[in-house]
């Protein structure tokens, strides 16, 4: 079996499986995460990696303590312990997801094996450099002995080896990957978390938008949500659902897209000729496949493409070309959203509808999909509750003690 242990330096694969879990939020865990956060925030070479900076910010002690308080509040007087060894399979285009996955599992005391793909990635290299440097300090020995980051070309034998040793397997990275890895057995008592392909969209109340006086700021948030990962993240909005009557919605749409086109033209995040081409192909494909009339809006540049649908049945959630292609759909009332939402839907980036109305919608309409409803600007913000899993809870088992 050919795999490379890329962190911690000099680790051996066998010793990690002999460790015991730590107590949830034990001090050695908090001090390691805090040290790494400090190391990254102080290092100017990370300035080029906004995602890593955002993650280091998430790792600050204040935020971790908040996570602990929430965890303890949920736990109350019950008894939760880490499950043991957690095997994380990170997405191919290594972003920071694998760190969140690993750290949330580590926080509740687990031993972690993280598989990253073999693609060279500069961001990963500097991140691993920082991790190896911090963990080399003997103050972090309890952590150093409880994790291993491995790198290998996809190989069922290696995946099978780690799968046979773990108590929980976590698969990030889409439907195909999940299908393939699920064919590889885990222990009978092991649990599994999977993160399938998702679709996310914006929800805007047209009247509220028109009345809003900080539209530029709002659109800046939406631009980041959609374009930061070139619209390829699961939580990047790929559609805008407008609430309101037609004339108001049309007025809102024209203002909204005009501002967004301006931003897109200034920033040009993720622009590439191939992406422009793919969007053109995609919008034509939608027009061909549509059962009801669609309108491909004229765009000033190929940075923002829009297809106005007249039926939710014509949303093709599989068609993912990235780079800023948006479906648009209008509804008269929030209630109609129930007919739009599908199992695949993950994040709604919402503006102009209040929390009560959204919660009421979800509780009474019971949609099969949607796992997050967040304000503009927070589509890509990682949360400990993801795709319907309360991750800290999922990484624990409960010991039911009924002795009085």
């Amino acid at each position: 079996m050919q795999y490379k242990i890329i962190a911690p330096t000099g680790a051996s694969s066998d010793s990690v499986f002999r460790q015991k879990v730590l107590q949830p939020f034990a001090e050695p865990i908090l001090s390691f995460i805090d040290a790494l956060s400090g190391r990254i925030l102080k290092d100017p070479s990370f300035k080029h990696y906004p995602e890593v900076m955002a993650m280091a910010f998430w790792m600050r002690r204040a935020n971790i303590v908040k996570l602990r308080e929430e965890f303890e509040a949920k736990r109350a007087d019950r008894t939760w312990l880490g499950r043991g060894v957690v095997f994380h399979i990170a997405p191919a285009n290594v972003d920071t997801i694998f760190i969140y996955s690993w750290f949330l599992s580590m926080l509740v005391g687990n031993i972690n094996v993280v598989r990253v793909s073999s693609q060279a990635d500069e961001q990963l290299d500097v991140l691993l450099g920082a991790i190896n440097e911090v963990v080399a300090d003997d103050a972090h020995e309890d952590i150093r002995t409880r994790f291993m980051i491995v790198q290998y070309e996809h190989d069922d034998e290696i995946t099978g080896h780690f799968s046979s040793k773990c108590h929980t397997r976590v698969i990030w990275g889409g439907d195909e990957t999940i299908r393939r890895i699920r064919a590889i057995p885990i222990r009978p008592s092991a649990t599994e978390l999977v993160f399938a392909d998702k679709f996310s969209f914006g929800l805007i109340d047209a009247r509220s938008f028109l009345d809003h006086d900080k539209k530029d700021r709002l659109l800046e948030h939406f631009y980041n949500d959609a374009y930061w990962f070139s619209q390829n993240a699961c939580s990047s909005p790929r559609m805008v659902v407008w609430i309101g009557e037609e004339s108001i919605v049309n007025e809102a749409r024209s203002e909204f897209w005009k501002i967004l086109e301006g931003l897109a033209d200034t920033k040009r995040l993720g622009f590439a000729p191939a992406v422009s081409m793919n969007k053109l192909i995609a919008e034509c494909s939608v027009a061909i496949a549509a059962k009801e009339p669609v309108v491909i809006e004229k765009h000033r540049t190929s940075l923002v493409n829009r297809v106005l649908l007249s039926s939710a049945d014509d949303i093709n959630r599989e068609l993912q070309c990235g780079g800023g292609l948006f479906y648009e759909l209008r509804i008269d009332d929030l209630k109609e959203l129930a007919d739009i939402v599908q199992e695949k839907d993950q994040t709604i980036v919402s503006f102009g509808t209040n929390r009560e109305a959204l919660a009421e919608f979800v509780r009474t309409r019971c949609p099969i999909g949607v796992s997050r409803i967040v304000p503009f600007g927070e589509a890509l913000t990682f949360s400990a509750v993801w795709d319907g899993y309360d991750l800290l809870r999922e990484f624990c088992r409960e010991i039911d003690i009924t002795v009085r």
């Binding site: 996809h154 070139s230 390829n232 993240a233 081409m277 494909s285």
Partner: protein, 364 residues
């Protein structure tokens, strides 16, 4: 001017204004024709709000991204009128374009190609060497781009000899005999750029075979992509063939299965020359606006030949630039352009598939 009248005039005889006026008239007619007969095409025009409109410049004619022919069966004729289905060449696992031809489109393609070829090699059928194997044309019901190219060009030669056998080995003896049998005339040679280089030129060199092909006119196509590792470009290719077997006249041409017939032959400008049946437009991928002469962008090709499928205005996935217009040193009118390779693939980031992504990157 009707299309048939157009076949009678020289394919490089119209200067800018006349050519544009002629093309726009035909392209408007084709747009309406396909909108009425090809439902998916009609739906695209509807979605853009272009149905029923006509345009005053060829740049304004709605164009389709060429990949749509890989995703959808786009045709403007009933199934029983299809006489040939062409497919683009593609590596295993890739989707290929399917182009449906009827009698009329096929006839137009033949006529256009004849006019172009005649302009370059004269009206007489020449003894012809095909620098490929007979195998590629065996299945006549489903033509590959390679097979279709060979069959199309074969019409301009006689006494054809396929110079490669079924194992792609050079048929040296047959080739020598062919030259003995045709001692005095010019010889037409056709092959795909990569095949010519790999299986003919390099074999002649490797086996130290001495043949005199100085009477040859070599026409080749297919692009330089497979040869970039060996740093072979047009100049080196020509020189190598001249030095090895004396070939003096070499014409590269650019064309695609989606617009067969209206091909772009290399003129004395050293670039691809647009004939009266077709034209090139270079677009800026940032907003798809038209770029002026000299600027590099995405190549759009318009052709007035496609009657059976909506391929009269296609945005290709190639990059190129127009080098000049109406002033090629050989007197041929029309724009001439160069092709600068494919649009580079986009890097994808995000929560995409672990394995699917790896498979793609290892294939590249």
């Amino acid at each position: 001017m009707t299309l048939d009248e157009l076949f009678g005039i020289g394919p490089y005889s119209l200067p800018h204004d006349e050519k544009q006026a002629l093309l726009v008239e035909h392209l408007n007619r084709l747009t309406a024709h396909h909108a009425d007969r090809c439902a998916p095409y009609g739906r695209i025009l509807d979605a853009y709000g272009y149905r029923g409109r006509s345009w005053s410049a060829i740049e304004d004619i709605p164009y389709l991204p060429i990949s749509l022919f890989k995703e959808f069966a786009l045709k403007s004729i009933p199934d029983n009128a299809v006489i040939k289905t062409l497919t683009s060449s593609g590596t295993t696992g890739q989707k290929v374009s399917r182009i449906f031809l009827d009698k009329e489109t096929s006839r137009r393609q033949t006529k256009a190609l004849a006019a172009i070829m005649q302009d370059f090699i004269g009206g007489k059928r020449l003894p012809m060497l095909i620098l490929d194997t007979r195998n590629v044309i065996k299945d006549r019901t489903l033509f590959s781009a390679r097979g279709a190219g060979i069959l199309g060009l074969s019409n301009f030669g006689r006494d054809h000899l396929y110079v490669l056998d079924e194992e792609m080995r050079l048929r040296t003896e047959a080739l020598k005999q062919f030259l003995v049998d045709h001692p005095d005339e010019p010889i037409l040679m056709f092959g795909f750029t990569f095949m010519v280089w790999k299986h003919v030129y390099q074999e002649l060199r490797a086996q130290d075979i001495d043949v005199d092909l100085s009477r040859g006119i070599l026409i080749h196509s297919g692009g330089w992509k497979k040869l970039t590792d060996e740093a072979v470009d047009n100049a080196r290719f020509k020189k190598a063939l001249r030095d090895t077997c004396g070939i003096q006249r070499v014409h590269n041409f650019y064309g695609m299965v989606e617009q067969i017939g209206s091909i772009y032959m290399e003129s004395d400008s050293g670039c691809f020359q647009t004939p009266v049946f077709s034209d090139v437009i270079i677009r800026d991928p940032l907003d798809w606006s038209v770029l002026p002469i000299g600027r590099e962008g995405v190549i759009e090709l318009v052709s007035i030949l496609p009657h059976s499928y909506p391929g009269h205005a296609l945005l290709t996935e190639d990059l190129g630039r127009v080098v000049g217009e109406d002033d090629s040193p050989d007197g041929r009118k029309g724009k001439y352009f160069e092709v600068l390779g494919r649009i580079p693939k986009a890097e994808i980031r995000g929560c995409s598939d672990t394995y699917a992504e790896e498979a793609v990157s290892s294939a590249v």
